[in-house]
Structures are given as C-alpha cells and as structure tokens.
Symmetry: C2
Subunit: 611 residues, 2 copies
C-alpha cells in the first residue's frame, strides 16, 4: 500500500494520516475541518486558500496565476489542488473555513446569550462531473467536499438521480454528519427548525431560522388530549386501557403538533419541507405519549420512565409533515414526574451556573420545583392540579378573552378583563389576586374557610359584604362580577379548597427540598417563576397565599416565562446547549416527595394560608 503521511492543521492542531496523493481539502475534511469550496474543487472560486508551512509542493498553473510570487514562496496554495507528497503542516485561515456561525441569539426574558450552533447546517457545493478517470461513487464524491457522511437508505435511493438532475450543483443538508438531503441549487438561505413545549394543558410551538436564531412565528393550542382527562394520571389510565387507546392518545398529540406546524409555516411563509429539525420538551408523561412509549408504569409505584436520556427520532416515525428526514430531539427526563420541560427550564435559566441557592418553580398542572445550590440540583414534582389553568374552579377559565385576569378589592371589587370584554370567568392570576385580597380583608380565614354573610368582619364596605351569599347547596359564595341574581362570576367554598390544594402542594414541595438541603427560604438568592402562566401572576399576591415563599424579598422573584419552550429552542439552536441538557438530566437528583417522612405534615401545614 502507498505510504501514509501525517498532515497537521493549524491553528486547530488537528492531525490525520493520509495516503500520498490525497488532496489537502480531503485531509482537512477527515479532521472535521470543512474548507470553503463552493466551486467543488474546480479551482474557479479560489476560496480554499491555505498556507502550507511545512512540506509545500511546487504550485500548479492555477495556483501560479492566483497567487503572487511572494505568496507562493510563503506556501499559499489551494486546498482543492494541492496533494500530499510528504508530512505536511498547513495553516487554514478563518476566512477559508466553511462559514462558522458565530451568530449569537439572546433569550428575550432571561437575557442569557447563546451561540447559534445548530446541529443542522447547509453547505452549497458544485461537484465536478464523473469521468472514466474518476468514477468515485456519488456519496464519496460528495464526501470529498463535506467530509464523512452518514446517510439512510431513502437518501441513497434519491441521491443518484438528484445529483444528475442538478449536475452536482446543490445544497447538502447536514445534521452533524448525517446527510438529511441534497437539494438542487443553492438553498442555504432556507434552513428552519421548530421547538415545542408539550404541556398537559397547552402546546406551544416556535419556528426559528437555524441560521441566525431568529424566531419567525409562535403559536399555541390546547392539548386535545384534555378530552381524555385534565391531568397526567387520567391520561396514563386511559392510555393503559388498551393498545387502541394508547395509539389514539399518541395520534391526538401528534395531530396537535401537526396543526401547529401548519400554522407556524403559514404565518411565516416558510416551506415546511425546509424544516429540518424539531425539539420537544414536555413532562415525562407527555413525552412518552408523544413518542408512543408505554406509560402504564408511570401510573404505578415506583413511576419508572422508559427512557432517561434525550431521544433522537425521525419526523416520519411520528408522521409529522416537515422535511421527511427531519430529526426530532426529545428532551431527557429526570424522573417519572420531573420531565424534559423541567430540564429545559434548568437549561434556559442557567441554574447550574448559579453561585448562591436558587429555586425554580414551574406552576402548571404539575408543579415542578428545582433547587440548585452548591453545584447540586434536586428536583421534585407535585400534583398541583389544573386549578391555575382554570379547571376545577366553578367559574374558572383559561386566560383568554373574557377572563378576569386581575382583581383588586378596596371599596368594591375592581377587575381587569382580558380584551376588555364582558367578564365570563376567572383565570389563574385573577384567582390568586382575589384570594390574596380576600384573605387581607378577612373574607377568608387562614384555614381557607369562606366566611358566611353573618360572620363577616364589621369594618368591611357594604359593596363587598353584599357580594357574600349562600347558594342553594348551602355553600358560601362571593360574587366577583356580573349579575347578582343570575349569571355572575363567583368564587365558592369548593374553589377555595381547590386553590388550597394547589398552593399547598407547591408550598410543601418547596419546604421539603429546602429542608433536605438544610436551607431556609431566607437563604434563597433568587426564586425563578417558569411556565407561561407564571408570567401573569403578581408576586406579592402569590406570596400572600403561600404559593411563593412569603419571606423572600419580592425583588428576588423573577419571571422567566415559558422556560420549557425556550430551553427547547436553545437545544434546537445550539448543540452545546443540547449537551448541557443531557448533563442536567444526568446530574439532577430526583426527590420523591411522598417518600419524605415529613411530607404529610408539611402538606397539611402548607394548606394553611400564611399570616
């Protein structure tokens, strides 16, 4: 066999052994360095300039025309022309490397910056035609420019005819070293991805440009699985009842994602076949249902997930209508009830980089609580229930048109209604406001009892006391808005109990995590509120009812928005971020709250509103 030569590339310090006669371009590709060659090595573009500092051969005619005498003497050559004839050291200037994407995107709410380094990238090439002297197979001909590629059968089945149709001038779509597609012509300007937050109640999707990280569209929809039950346990039960139910559960959520894909592409005017990667973050059950994994064991002690690490799937496996080879990244999970949404939140909040103790709370149908201190992560989930999303509250509704989203009690009840419409119900933030002010006014006791018309404190304005009535079932009610006689928006005793359960679950979880870490709420440097809902609540009111720790300075409480969606976006836009997500899931300690001996006691205490 011919002799092997050592080629070293600087300033990267990468080496490779190749046979005599190998082109520098190919040698560089083998070390993972992709040199610019839009002309496909035909010498016409002159973009692949490199400086051979040791072992330079005599320049060929093209090189003599292109470079000055001084440049040639200094070893400047074209990587597409110069072949290896001995051990060689080559300096590759940045300008000759395939356009490094040093773009930065900044997450709007947290202000954290991240480099745009997506797994998917596009490379326009112009491959020289095959001749009888060079019958290199199609795939290997492409690899001479792109470096080694993995590919699947479908891609190989198309490759030959596509290459011939466009005469080798086209765009390789690469995900890491996987060849997703080869598109005729230069399509480098169209490279998109989507991130999804799959919530138990709501699904949110975001369409981003993978070249610069810009968000082009955002859309949300109800999770249609809600018709099978409003919490994860009822979904698990339903899914476990038969294979048909399990399939239906998957089809339902996949359909919702499909609807969002259509809407996002329509809104941004993007061709869905140019969407090459999707990232999904959701709680463990939602991720399992999306992927069609068996969830029965998530409904039984000890709640074991099937997968822990993130999953890489293909769009066709979920029959999602984007590019047919699009890759799907499903977030890693921490435990049966601490899922990829929490991992995504930890990622986007950069929790692991915090110096002092930080608490993150995601207030959703499941409340996830993460404590980071001393480089350690502990995470727990509580079944808060869907009260904050309007379910199980008599006049509850989601935060849409007609929802009372803010309440202030003074001489009377003042409300703010979304879209300035007629009030038709109460959403989570309004519920918290109302409960907080009613506590302050003495309309609700610390134990959560709604005082009856006869028990009210004397100093209350008449406009307020007049709103307290007893309904036909003997339950005390409070009229928030609307007609006292007929269709008013009301809060009743059962609603307060639901609120206590939701609040108490989170409150108890926080207390247990802190106790296990030998910390008190006063030690917390920051409390981060994640989740789409979180952004709308008023911190002081949430503290008043015990949903957030009451003895933390409210300036230390920050909203970080839909951290799950943002984390999914990060993972889409940055492979280093994706690696961090995997590390987070691996290092996080899953705390099973019910295993804590203090849990029942803590929960009972947490149900009582703070003084």
């Amino acid at each position: 066999m011919s002799q092997q030569r050592r080629i070293t590339f600087q300033p990267h310090g990468r080496s490779v052994f190749v046979l005599d006669g190998t082109k520098l371009l190919e040698a560089a590709a083998r070390t993972g360095l992709t040199i610019e060659t839009p002309c496909g090595g035909l010498t016409t573009c002159g973009k692949c300039r490199v400086q051979v500092t040791t072992g330079a051969c005599a320049p060929d005619q093209h090189e003599q025309e292109l470079f000055s005498r001084e440049e040639l003497a200094a070893g400047w050559r074209l990587a597409c022309q110069t072949t290896v004839r001995g051990d060689t050291v080559v300096h590759i200037p940045d300008s000759s490397l395939f356009a490094g994407r040093h773009q930065i995107f900044v997450e709007a709410r947290t202000g954290a910056a991240e480099e745009v380094l997506p797994a998917v990238r596009k490379q326009y090439v112009e491959l020289p035609a095959a001749t009888l002297d060079d019958t290199t197979p199609d795939l290997m001909r492409l690899e001479k420019v792109t470096g080694p590629l993995k590919t699947d059968l479908g891609m190989l089945q198309r490759l030959g005819s596509v290459l011939r149709r466009c005469e080798g001038k086209g765009t390789a779509v690469l995900s890491d070293h996987h060849l997703l597609d080869f598109e005729p012509g230069d399509t480098t300007g169209q490279c998109y991805g989507m991130a999804f937050d799959i919530g138990t109640t709501t699904v949110v999707g975001s369409l981003v440009d993978l070249a610069d990280g810009r968000e082009l569209a955002i859309a949300s929809a109800m999770n249609p699985q809600i018709s099978f039950g409003d919490d994860v346990l009822s979904r698990i039960e339903r899914s476990g009842s038969s294979q048909a139910s399990a399939d239906e559960m998957q089809t339902t959520i996949v359909g919702a994602v499909g609807g969002l894909i259509e809407q996002l592409c329509d809104d941004a005017g993007v061709d869905r076949r140019r969407v090459y990667e999707l990232a999904f973050a959701g709680n463990t059950t939602m991720e399992h249902l999306l992927c069609g994994l068996d969830v029965t064991q998530l409904g039984q002690v000890p709640f074991v997930p099937v997968h822990g690490r993130g999953l890489m799937l293909r769009a066709e496996q979920l029959t999602l209508d984007v590019h047919r080879n699009a890759a799907l990244y499903v977030f890693p999970v921490i435990g049966g009830f601490v899922g990829g949404d929490t991992v995504a939140g930890i990622l986007t909040a950069k929790l692991t980089e915090a110096a002092a103790p930080v608490l993150m709370i995601d207030i959703g149908t499941n409340g996830e609580i993460v404590l980071c201190h001393d480089g350690r992560l502990s995470a727990a989930s509580t079944a808060a229930g869907p009260a904050f999303e309007g379910a199980r509250i008599s006049c509850g509704m989601r935060a849409t048109t007609g929802a009372i989203e803010k309440v202030v009690l003074d001489d009377d009840v003042n409300v703010n209604v979304i879209a300035n419409a007629e009030p038709i119900g109460l959403c989570g933030s309004g519920l918290i406001d109302l409960a907080a002010d009613m506590l302050d006014a003495g309309l609700i006791t610390r134990e959560g009892r709604l005082l009856g018309p006869d028990e009210l404190p004397g100093e209350l304005p008449a406009a307020i006391t007049g709103r307290v009535t007893v309904n036909g079932e003997g339950q005390t009610e409070f009229l928030i808005a609307g007609d006292a006689g007929g269709r008013g928006v009301r809060l009743n005793q059962r609603d307060v109990r639901e609120l206590q359960l939701a609040t108490g679950a989170i409150h108890a979880g926080v207390n247990i995590l802190l106790k296990q870490a030998h910390l008190a709420t006063g030690d917390l440097e920051q409390v981060l509120i994640a989740g789409g809902f979180g952004s709308f609540i008023r911190r002081s009111k949430a503290q008043r009812i015990g949903l957030l720790p009451s003895d933390v300075d409210h300036r230390k409480i920050r909203y970080i928005g839909n951290a799950s969606l943002n984390g999914a976006k990060w993972a889409l836009l940055s492979t280093p971020a994706r690696k961090r997500a995997e590390e987070i899931a691996r290092m996080a300690q899953h705390v099973e709250l019910s295993r804590d001996t203090n849990f029942q006691m803590e929960f009972a205490e947490a149900m009582i509103f703070p003084e």
Copy 2:
C-alpha cells in the same frame, strides 16, 4: 458537582472518570468491558469477582461472606457491589468478563481460519426491580449491565412492557452497541445470521449459527430477475424505464431472498425471528437493485455507483421477514462493474496477504478479474455473458438434472450427465470440455470455425465424423448426444462464437491487468478460480480454450468455490473481517478495460483459441 475519580482496569489498560459512588460494574461498562452479572447485580451469582489493587474500600456483608479473609485483604470484591470512593485500579480476571467468543471457524475450501466475532451477540441478564429508592429508567437500568446502548423508537416502545412481563429476566440482543431486542427468558442459545450471494443468474443463501460459526443450511435459487433479461445491462435498462419497473425489479429479488430465508429456516428448524443479521454480496448492479438504488447511471458512461462503502440497513427497510430489527450488511463495491461479490472473494481468498502475484478469476455472467501483487489490488470486469451458465447456447442449460457436465472425445463422444438422467442439454463445464476436445481433434479451427462434413481431417473415427451435419439454416452442427434425426443435444457454429466471446473477454482482461502491472502469466504464483461455476470446470480444458492462462502450471490453479458467499459469511461472523472488506474496497484500483488503448486488439487476439 461530585468529584470525578479515575478508574483503571487491568490488564486491559482502560481508564474512565466517574463520580464517587459509581459501581465498578458501571465504570467497567463505560470502558467497553462487560463483566458477567447474570444475577443483574443482586450479589447472588458471585460471578463479577474483580481484584481492586489500588483504592479498595471496606468489603460489605455479601463480600465478607463470599470471600476468604486473604482474598479480601488482596482486594477481591464484587464489581456489582463495590462503589468508587477514590482513584482506583482494578484487575478483571478473564473468567469475570462476559464470555469472550474465542471460537474459530475454518472456511472449508480455502482452509483460512477466522475468529468468530460477530457484530450480534446475546447477553442474559436479571435486572433488579425498580424501587422508590431506585427509579432508574428502564433503558438505563439495562445499560448498567450491558454498557451504553443505542436503540430505536420501536424497541423503546416495547421495552417497558417486555421488562415488566419477564420481571427483568431476559436476553439482550446486541449488535455492537445497538439494542436489537430484549427477549424474555434465556435465549442465548438461539442466535442466527444469514449470508447471501446475489448473482445475476443465481442467488445462494447460507444460515449460520452466530455463536460458533457453524453452517446450518444452504440453499440456492434462480435470480427471478432473469425474466427481465439475462445480463446486468438488460436489467439496468428495464429498471431505468420507469419507477414501477425499478420497484418491480427490487421486489423480485427481495422476493427471491425471502424465499431462501423461508427455506433455510425450515431446513434447519430455526425460528426466523431469531435471525438477527444478514450479509449480502453481489455485483454492483445486483446490490443496487436489492437496495432500490438508482441504477440508470450504471448503464451509462462512466458507470458511477451510488455508494462505495458497505451499507448498513434494517430488515424492515427491505421488508425481509426475519427479526424485525435485524441488521443488513451490504458489501462495499469497487466500481460500477466490480462489486461486493469481488470484494467478498478477495476477502475470503486473503488475496491481500499474498506475497507473490496472484490472479483471481470469477467466471460468471460478468467475469471479474483481480490481480494482487506487491500489496496492490487491481480489479476489472468483463462482459463474459451468460454462456457458461447455459444461456445463449442453443442446447445450453444450467448444471442441473439432465445436463451434460463432462464430455470426452476419443473413438466417440462420451458424456457424463448430472443425476445419470437422459441428456437434455449442455452446461458450462461440458461446453468447455467439448470445445477443448474438438479443438484437439481438429473439428474446430483456432479461429473458431466449426468444420463442415466435407472439411474434416481424415484421421477422425467415423463415429465422430458422422456427428457433423449441416442444419436447415446452413449452419454446421455437432451432435453430442441423443437422436441424430430428432431431439439431440448439439453444438452449432453460433454456440462456438458465443463461447469465443465469453472466453475472449476474460482472456483479454487478464492480459491487460498483467500488462498494466508489467507482469506475464508466468510470473503468477497462483490462479484462483472463484464462483460456484468455477468449481466444476476442468483446469486443463479451460486452459486449452484460453479461458485460463495456458502457460501456468495447472497445479497453480486452485478452486476457491463460491468465494462471494464465503466472504459474506465471514463478514457476518467476524467484524474484523468486515473491516477488512471495507479496506479492500477502498484500496482496490478499478481498471476500466475499455479505457486501455490495447483493449480492442487484445480482445480480438483473445478470441482466437490457443495453439
């Protein structure tokens, strides 16, 4: 984060950094060393004994019961129990490693030996049940025993329920680090693979036991694509005529492979769901058609294949009915007309290890010729046509019942008929015998003219001369067997021309390869005859008609049987052999005979029979 410790395993010299508290078992798995733990780390089997030579912790109760005081002092521990508490050096005795397969198989014809090291292996495990203290996800629980695994969505979708059904006691089926399946109970005794030679005319399959390399069954069938044309060019043309034709071509060959799979499993009494890997070697066109790759470019100058390297597919992609996750290895190719069958032949003949020049000839519908000398491989193909397989010869037939497979001319014509049946046709070996003896007897001139009844040499026996007649079309004919008046087996002038074309093509190819390497036939140390057909021809007769080099001592000519099938079997049984196959394809130089300026001249000369 917790501290990382360096763990070194001896005598393998592998190191890994792990967190404090990691079990030695897991640390070893991360370096790729799999320690025996049939009990799944429950301490009950005691098979995972290792000697901690540096950094041993105090033994636990199980270890104190299992080991003597001296053993404990010497650092003997259970890898499933001992956790890392500092930098550690561990000696793993061979007996504790997962059963290394040091089985050897010997290829019957060539006598070459190869270690049985298949990609697929089975490992029986007994996983401990999950508890609230250990809610490790299913896949990661399995990985604690097997080491890191890759898996696909279908496998993950089944994993949870399978693990629970068999209570963690089952057999992991692994292909490299890919989890193909998890089967309840211990199925390690059933681990099978299949190798296929996909010829233009014949398809042969072999069923082997992946544990010891034994061949359990072998079966062959006509390639049913033959109904679309008997050579590769007509198949290419047909396949290129429409997508439906291309699909039909693939379906046809896949169907033939499916039929052989059924037959092989029936013959050996093997459950087809226990067949986990298939290896395919065929010429470039056959491999492309099998995989559904576009072949149109194989029919046009410069005959560029789509793939060069070997392909890894999944059985379901070709809808083959074996284990649903079975891996398919399709051999790498050297060029458009020098395919995976030739690579497999070079592999099994160990050509690259030869010191002196060796020639390998595969006499099939395409004749492939490989010359190895001085560590270099050059390979060419010639369109020999299907004459040796009985096609295009008026009374030609395959070597089956009723075929005249041997002919001796003395006072008369003596024939040997397969299965001692009534002669109904002439197969390749009979054709060569007959032509050689007719040349010697002066019935055929060196230029290939069949002499008429009036031109015959005087000294021939009457029984012979009486067989020469002129048919209705004015063509001279020779009656080999049967009734002179009616249905006899005959050789006519056109048949001799077909033979000359086939022989001349191979003869010319050999001459050009030798000339390009500055060698003469006399320099050849060995001539290897590959191909199922090759085994049946008589060397001296083949030399007589110029099919084999006439000035090579016939003792230097060796048959190596169906080297393509054997190579495929090797690749199935040994991953090192598979790597060598990839190297062979990469290093082999593809010689396009028609590009040689001497080709036309050589071909014309080679058509003339030797003196």
